[in-house]
Symmetry: C2
Subunit: 277 residues, 2 copies
């Protein structure tokens, strides 16, 4: 998927993506590094006390691996709070006849559920799109729920993370409601690139896209066939290249213009936050 001139990919990507997590690199090494991405992200949202930092760093122990396609949570039950350390997951909802809509992607450093204490059943499910490693964030939720002033910084960070998530949902609404298939595709890829960059998982012009075109289609509200054609067109227009599950951005400016990328999107909600931290 997402690939073009020669090989298939999706599957390949998944494997390629998951590989470092399993045989190559022992989990003990991967997980902490994933955690670090999260702690630095949270730290950027506001100054944290030593106690809070300690709490964050202490999370690392309760990691868990989820196989591709595994339902990590949700779907009528309260969502236990976890943080994605590696791999891609998504929030999704199915319609009665099997149609699926992907609501949002969950990338390394993203929170599954919410850090704010809310034990309510949710109306969607979270599913692993690749192999995924997560860590239990209950300790954070409890600290925040305690209302202890010592955890003010964490509480604030939790609210800011939630705000960023809402911003992504609004972007998705605008994409689906008012953009053409072509624009949606470019806009989503820009969003993913921006988020992965923040997480330290992308270079200024490349990033891994370990998902099939079917997943992309379900996120963009398109059919697989049309997704494929649109992506081909985007490549043909020289905006980007895809190869082996890697996206290489060739013309960032053109992409931003096409997608009406207002810099108010995604990253801003992050850079802005950082600025105010």
């Amino acid at each position: 998927m997402i690939q073009s001139q020669f090989q298939p990919l999706a599957y390949q990507n998944v494997v390629r993506f998951a590989k470092p997590l399993d045989p190559m690199t022992p989990r003990a090494i991967v997980a902490p590094s994933g955690l670090h991405a999260f702690t630095s992200r949270v730290s950027a949202l506001g100054k944290l006390s030593a106690e809070e930092l300690l709490l964050l760093q202490g999370l690392g122990r309760f990691t868990r691996s989820h196989a591709q396609h595994e339902e990590i949570g949700g779907d009528g039950k309260p969502m236990m709070s976890r943080v994605v350390l590696s791999g891609w997951a998504c929030q999704q909802r199915m319609l009665g006849d099997g149609r699926r809509q992907i609501i949002s992607f969950l990338l390394p450093g993203d929170v599954i559920g919410s850090l704010e204490p809310l034990d309510l059943p949710v109306d969607h499910s979270v599913v692993a799109l690749t192999q995924v490693i997560t860590v239990d964030a209950t300790a954070l939720v409890k600290a925040i729920a305690s209302g202890d002033p010592a955890y003010r910084g964490l509480a604030r960070a939790a609210r800011l993370l939630a705000l960023g998530e809402i911003t992504l949902l609004r972007d998705q609404i605008v994409r689906l409601g008012r953009q053409t298939a072509y624009e949606r595709m470019v806009h989503l890829l820009l969003e993913l690139h921006a988020r992965l960059k923040m997480a330290g998982l992308a270079t200024p012009d490349t990033f891994a896209l370990p998902i099939s075109q079917e997943i992309l289609a379900d996120a963009l509200g398109l059919s697989v066939v049309h997704t494929n054609r649109v992506l081909q067109q985007v490549r043909h227009d020289g905006l980007l290249e895809t190869r082996s599950g890697q996206v290489k951005i060739l013309d960032l400016e053109a992409m931003r213009t096409v997608a009406d990328w207002t810099a108010t999107t995604v990253e801003p909600s992050a850079s802005r936050l950082a600025r105010l931290g």
Copy 2:
């Protein structure tokens, strides 16, 4: 708008809707009643202390009226927190070429901005769709931000309200991404009905829809013309009637079936909350 067999409506509805707020009923009477709807909604989210209730009731003084089309807030600036007492507003975003997407509707009892302390610029704007009366909620935000244990109940309510808002955004995403025009229309009308019922503004089978088909189109991601045709079809199929800006539901079951209304939608996020309060 939304009307069929004979008159236009949208404009008419707006007038009809706004009227009680202006000449007929003095604002002093309307506002408090609108506030009551909000306080009872918040109360339903969890037990509040006498102090918290007092704070809620004390909000009533700082009301403000917004003319139709007036921008109430947002658009790059931090959003000041307000509560809608009467009238309809919406969150929206414009694309560079003028396309508009309505992200969500704000009905009486809904919060504009957030009750949680987050002074960040936002990426959308809030616009009055009819004449709207709002009240300043800064006092609530401050109380919640203080972290004072006396306001735990309010803080929790604020989180639950925010959660409900996110649920609505997810619904909107599914509608736009995976439902047909016909399904979207029915689903949105069901959502509005459910929300208005909660606010005490709808009977079991009727509610006022004071917006033009153009607004509906921008919320549903459709063209005005197609919105008109779809609505006609829904009426023709006997699911509902529209007259003078009032919607009368004729076949609730059929509507729910058509729209894949899972009862996990909207109101549940409210009834559930209430249950847990």
